[in-house]
């Protein structure tokens, strides 16, 4: 399931997956990708030249698991044992935005914010109380936030100061964006 999650925002290379799933060894990742391919959830594809590199991508059916994984995340965050300060991947934090958007606060907000984690760039776009997340280019956002996913989570969900992150462009917009999200109340 974690491999699928990492593919939900677009195709990835073997080593990208490995570095975002730090606890997985090469042989296990190979095996998982095989299994997912056999079951019709993942497709291997060769990028056209000049890239000519092999990537793994979720099939259409695989992508249909996205809402499930999002809602599982929201449900699991209510666990008494949930700890939002644990390390997480770039895809995880971006997907968490779609799970944790506070509808009330989002009403009064519109705009796009880009995130860069290492080489990967994602853009989150909020309008009409809804959010959309996708891979993108830095310039697609009015602001660009650079930092570790874990630090973004610390700011958004842990109340850590904005200074943890490097922000370019519309800093005010970025600040407001980062306060649109709330964890659901814990069970118990």
């Amino acid at each position: 399931m974690l491999v699928m999650r990492e593919l939900l925002l677009g195709a990835r290379r073997f080593s990208d997956l490995r570095s975002d799933l730090p606890a997985i060894s090469a042989n296990v990742l190979t095996q998982r990708l095989q299994e997912l391919e056999n079951r019709g959830l993942v497709r291997r594809r060769k990028l056209p030249p000049p890239a000519s590199v092999q990537v793994y991508e979720a099939t259409e059916w695989g992508l249909e698991a996205a809402p499930l994984i999002r809602e599982m995340g929201r449900w699991a965050a209510r666990s008494p044992l949930h700890d939002p300060t644990l390390p997480l991947s770039g895809v995880s934090i971006m997907l968490s935005f779609t799970a944790m958007l506070d509808a009330g606060r989002a009403k009064g907000f519109a705009g796009a914010v880009a995130f860069r984690f290492g080489e990967m760039v994602y853009v989150a776009q909020v309008a009409n109380g809804a959010i959309q997340v996708a891979r993108g280019e830095p310039e697609y956002g009015a602001a660009l936030i650079v930092g570790e996913p874990t630090n973004v989570a610390a700011v958004v969900y842990g109340g850590a100061p904005l200074e943890l992150l490097q922000i370019e462009g519309d800093r005010a917009l970025a600040g407001r964006f980062l306060s649109l999200f709330t964890l659901p109340p814990k069970a118990n």
Copy 2:
């Protein structure tokens, strides 16, 4: 997750769980229940006298997993490898009704049908294009269907003849009820 699923329609005893999860051994079930209790998903409770028997029930938070499990079921049924003739428990078939209700067909239907699997009785109630499933008494339904869960699935999802099931009460209603459900199209 399978243990949780079995608790979604109400508290069960240790041996009920064991017989509905036929591949689980006693020690593993003990361990699972411990784990689920530690995580706040399951509660042990002693039924008041004269029953005075111990049961396991899902906590409120545990019950919030019900829609997730339902949608996982619906999603998984699209697997090219999915086989609807495999054995399943009473809870499973009842939950599948909530996942597979065909909104169009359900529009023109209203009524309650009871199912008895061994000692357990469940009632499904359809009205206004929606379905509700719960534990109940046979007399809560205008019809009572008795049979193996697997045979119910064979009729509903496999096009097997009604004769596989024993039906008491309003047989016509039961027949129409059993045709309200369709599996989602397979992926691929």
